[in-house]
């Protein structure tokens, strides 16, 4: 008999936590603000918690039965943003992007600088002063400046990280915010710790440096040395019409089509045994899911599966539109189904899943 576990849900409490985390700021290993919120939330549910040399949170919740599979779950705490690299006169600063950001998103956006969230903007030339052809050329980073106001310069210094200033909002069935990639996975993972399945040893890694080479997850996986791993991330949904009305075959994922399961991406070919388990669990429990279109991109699984003598891995993502831009949109339904899929897959995880057929 398996011990009875409560099923987790996405309700006010989880959405409030996501709001708090989406508005918090953190790049690479400089994720102190996010880490603090997560630590506070998960501490009561964990048997052990530590922060490692890269700033990952490594939390363990033990199984309630002997010989349980040791399952690593990972969600990354870092987001994309910028670093201030050079100061100029009058509160102006040069920036460099950190993580994959399309520079065309930058002009005219409000931002927050550093741990104190100093407000600033990335300005743009008035349209009135432009030469005829200027609008045909993309503005490049060398031409853009962070502006914190003529007298605000002393609150900002080179080395500070800079973040989009978008505030979280719930709009109908959607969530709108800046760092849903992957704070949404962070909340999912925190919730799974809270409602931990009794049949597995849950090894939770809230990782750093995902956006710049999946580096935190690498050392976390080495440290945990789990039997298998599931990554909880956010993935782009480009499910909007093409300019000429032709069928969109580059959508990656679609909103409201359920959690996105990865078969293959740039970094990982998912373990077929874990894939089959997810497909079966979804079918048996009527949980909708979609297969993320194989192709470019990746998750922490890309480094996890190659650690030690190999760690079977798979990823489940909540689709979100406009990833790596100032604002993302995800659906509550996809988030709920992702949590349900992950939780059900764990509670029903066959003890012999790794005995290859």
């Amino acid at each position: 008999m398996t011990a009875k576990t409560l099923s987790p849900v996405i309700e006010k409490e989880q959405i409030a936590l996501l709001e708090q985390l989406s508005n918090a700021c953190g790049i690479l290993s400089d994720v102190g603000e996010v880490r603090k919120i997560v630590l506070e939330k998960i501490q009561p549910y964990c048997d052990s918690v530590k922060v490692d040399a890269l700033g990952n949170i490594l939390a363990i919740r033990k199984a309630q039965q002997p010989g349980a599979l040791r399952v690593m779950l990972a969600a990354h705490m870092d987001e994309v943003g910028f670093m201030v690299v050079e100061s100029e006169e009058g509160g102006l600063f040069k920036l460099v992007t950190v993580g994959g950001i399309d520079v065309r998103y930058l002009p005219g956006k409000p931002v927050l600088v550093g741990k104190d969230h100093v407000p600033g903007v990335i300005g743009a030339k008035p349209i009135h002063l432009m030469k005829r052809d200027e609008m045909q050329t993309a503005m490049d980073l060398d031409g853009l400046r962070l502006d914190v106001g003529p007298d605000g310069g002393d609150k900002v210094k080179p080395g500070d990280h800079v973040y989009f200033a978008t505030r979280f909002q719930q709009v109908g069935s959607s969530m709108v915010g800046k760092a849903l990639d992957d704070r949404i996975g962070v909340v999912t993972l925190a919730t799974l710790l809270q409602y931990a399945p009794a049949n597995i040893e849950l090894l939770a890694a809230f990782t750093t440096q995902e956006e710049i080479g999946l580096r935190g997850a690498r050392v976390a996986a080495y440290g945990f040395d789990p039997d298998l791993a599931i990554v909880l991330d956010s993935t782009p949904a480009h499910d909007y019409p093409s300019y000429d009305g032709s069928e969109n075959r580059y959508f990656n994922t679609r909103l409201d089509a359920g959690p996105a399961i990865y078969v293959a991406d740039t970094g990982t070919i998912s373990d077929p045994r874990l894939l089959q388990h997810l497909f079966r669990v979804a079918a048996e429990n009527g949980i909708p899911y979609q297969i993320r279109q194989p192709g470019p991109g990746g998750t922490d699984a890309g480094s996890i599966h190659k650690q030690r003598s190999g760690i079977p891995s798979v990823s489940i993502s909540v689709p979100g539109r406009y990833a790596h831009s100032p604002v993302m949109v995800s659906r509550l339904s996809d988030w709920r189904n992702s949590l349900t899929l992950a939780h059900t897959a764990l509670t029903t995880l066959p003890q012999d899943i790794l005995q290859r057929a």
Binding site: A53, F82, M83, V85, E86, V98, I212, V219, Y222, G223
Partner: protein
């Protein structure tokens, strides 16, 4: 006492291309021998040297990594006495025509790099740079002699001899990163009569320019608590003036970014400030291009730091560095280690 400048000059004259660091490694080993307690050569050719701490065991460990491998070239073919070649490490082919090199064949052979005239190349706009695959090395030997002496896979080094300019400025090839090996040597020298609590592992890493090989493997063998990459960084000079550059001879840099633990940075910065060693903040928004990039993610993760020695004309045969900065890097490391408390790791904090 080791004369650091003399040691560096000797080291610069020795070949030691990535994966073929032997000659450089032997010279470093003989210089370090009186300064350390144990030495090993790693399976891929890094030199691991331990200077034991004075506390009781188990002692915490700090790893100082400076790569000793140099960039250069490798022979890919021998045709009618002319050698075609490819690069080891990153080299701008535009600075090769007319350059003097040494081909490490059955014996060391002097050679020059030749740019064929446009008429002998695929159709091109005249005076555009010639790609490396069309350049040749001419040894001044007959085709038969060349074929007898040279084979595919032979190494080619820059033949530029080091020179000293006024005020302790050294110029030559392979200062990236022999300058940092000299700095680690200066550190060991200074620690010679110091009672430090930590074990100090001085490592001359192999294959940094190609695979960060030494950076990935040395920490796995040593399992340090702290690891420092000492490498050259960009000095201000012709063609290099932005935020990534620092004045030559005016102090070393300390990296800031994802490959550097902020608590480690703070502790080293405090030592520098106390001793009036000028240090610059080197921003690494997307990570460091040094062994630290590898060392940080070895095993279950290692607390890392990057120290940079400003250098002009990186990856050319006339790199330029200030002895003063080399001494500063060594002094900073030695001073930090001398005062490093046994419980440093327990008190190391994230700046949350």
């Amino acid at each position: 006492m080791t004369d650091i400048k003399q040691f560096l000059n000797e080291l610069l004259s020795l070949p030691g291309l990535s994966a073929y660091e032997g000659p450089a490694r032997e010279h470093i080993a003989s210089t370090w021998k009186p300064l350390v307690d144990e030495m090993q050569v790693s399976p891929i050719g890094s030199l691991h040297a331990l200077k034991k701490g004075f506390g009781s065991e188990p002692r915490p460990r700090i790893l100082l990594a400076a790569h000793m491998d140099a960039i250069g070239m490798m022979v890919t073919g021998v045709t009618d006495g002319f050698l075609s070649f490819t690069e080891i490490g990153g080299i701008d082919p535009r600075l090769l025509p007319g350059l003097r090199v040494t081909v490490h064949a059955k014996r060391n052979l002097p050679g020059i790099i030749v740019m064929p005239r446009d008429a002998l190349l695929p159709e091109r706009k005249s005076e555009t740079p010639v790609e490396m695959k069309y350049l040749f090395i001419d040894l001044g030997l007959s085709a038969a002699e060349t074929a007898e002496l040279v084979q595919i896979g032979d190494l080619v080094s820059f033949a530029q001899e080091p020179m000293e300019l006024p005020n302790g400025i050294i110029t030559g090839h392979s200062l990236d990163n022999r300058a940092s090996v000299a700095a680690v040597t200066a550190c060991l020298e200074e620690l010679h009569n110091v009672q430090h609590a930590w074990d100090v592992w001085a490592v001359a890493t192999a294959q940094e320019e190609e695979t960060l090989g030494g950076g990935f493997t040395a920490p796995f063998a040593i399992r340090p608590d702290l690891a420092v990459a000492i490498d050259v960084t960009f000095a201000k000079g012709p063609g290099a003036s932005d935020w990534r550059t620092f004045p030559l001879g005016k102090g070393v840099s300390l990296g800031i970014g994802s490959n550097v633990h902020p608590g480690f940075f703070k502790a080293v910065k405090e030592v520098a400030d106390k001793l009036d060693i000028p240090v610059h903040n080197e921003l690494m928004p997307r990570g460091s291009g040094t062994d630290a990039l590898a060392m940080q993610i070895v095993a279950d993760g290692i607390t890392t730091l990057v120290i940079g020695i400003p250098l002009r004309y990186m990856h050319t045969p006339v790199e330029m560095v200030a002895m003063k900065d080399i001494q500063r890097a060594g002094h900073l490391l030695a001073s930090f280690i001398a005062t490093l408390p046994v419980d440093f790791m327990q008190n190391l904090k994230w700046d949350d």
